[in-house]
Symmetry: C2
């Protein structure tokens, strides 16, 4: 590959990435429907043709955005849940304590793109729903594995199926994020952290 | 009041109610942004001028929709939580068991208009956020009163502040509804019902 081809290829990747980054930021603020393609193009400074060079449609673009958000979540989860120097229960605590701090930094705005798009689009588009379901499922797989380990170590005393505990935690967290957005307060996130660890997981 | 005035007044009320009913149904399916005023007018069969006779703007219309939805929730809650022939814990069980059945009837579509609009609009409009927050808060007041009564009777063994338990239940339910929409399955609602009653409330 010569230098000119390499530059062209990296410019290609950069434009696609820049479109995705701008799309994530705008959809997080406004949702799918309210996010205008023209606004995204303007943020990146590329013409309309560019968009349709990379994506077949707004729906196709949103699926790429969901996959990319899923990758970011997977990396964040891997950093914490793959850290074997922490006890399994402390990985769970660290994950939700960081997520709470992150929401406070954002002044309880925006929330989670996966939750937002699920609420808005699950009934509108089967392909978006499928992409969203996959991200949620991947998150639960990581949570479940960590809960199994913590149960084995006796750090979590609740002996329900780990998959049920993971599903419940994901529901309760998603709802707590939504309430904190509506209340513009982290109270629901604090209540989540107290009740999940003390009452549901019965962790020590 | 003569007969003609009475008829005119009741037609007035009917048109406003019909607009609200159509708005609720369409916003529940599509959200705020995707719901077109023209679609709502068409459903009711009235001209555009009629809409602006009753409502100043789409936002004003949505606030009336939220208030009306809040009234419907309050009536449903009052029917169950005001039923003193049921034990407090059984009122809670009945409420969430009916809500689960309702979601299954709707094939896990649509969900709850208050949750949906919160997710979509809490960052977009302060007046919608305020209306949504009020409905959520009113729901928590009813839940809290019932939990206090159940704690006094020893039907709920968890002695945390009832307001915290109510906030947690509301978060977990809202999230479970969202997950059931994305998964098109009532599994998250079933997990909610098991874990809330057995592990969180420690009810007998």
């Amino acid at each position: 590959m010569n230098a000119a081809t390499m530059t062209a290829n990296s410019a290609k990747i950069d434009t696609r990435e820049a479109l995705l980054d701008a799309g994530i930021s705008i959809m997080l603020e406004k949702g799918y429907t309210n996010a205008g393609i023209s606004e995204i193009l303007q943020a990146v400074g590329v013409p309309k043709g560019s968009f349709y060079h990379y994506f077949d449609s707004k729906e196709d673009f949103a699926i790429a955005i969901i996959a990319r958000t899923g990758d970011v979540y997977a990396q964040r989860m891997s950093r914490i849940f793959g850290n074997s120097s922490l006890k399994p229960i402390d990985r769970l605590r660290k994950y939700f304590s960081e997520a709470r701090a992150d929401m406070v930094t954002k002044e309880c705005r925006k929330g989670c793109l996966i939750g937002n798009l699920s609420q808005e689009m699950a009934d509108q588009s089967e392909s978006l729903r499928d992409a969203l379901r996959t991200v949620l499922q991947n998150g639960r797989i990581v949570l479940t594995a960590c809960i199994v380990e913590a149960q084995k170590n006796g750090e979590i005393l609740n002996d329900r199926p780990a998959a049920d505990l993971a599903q419940f935690i994901q529901s309760a967290w998603t709802g707590a994020m939504l309430l904190s957005k509506t209340q513009k307060s982290p109270e629901s996130l604090d209540v989540f952290n107290r009740l999940i660890f003390e009452d549901v997981l019965k962790s020590k």
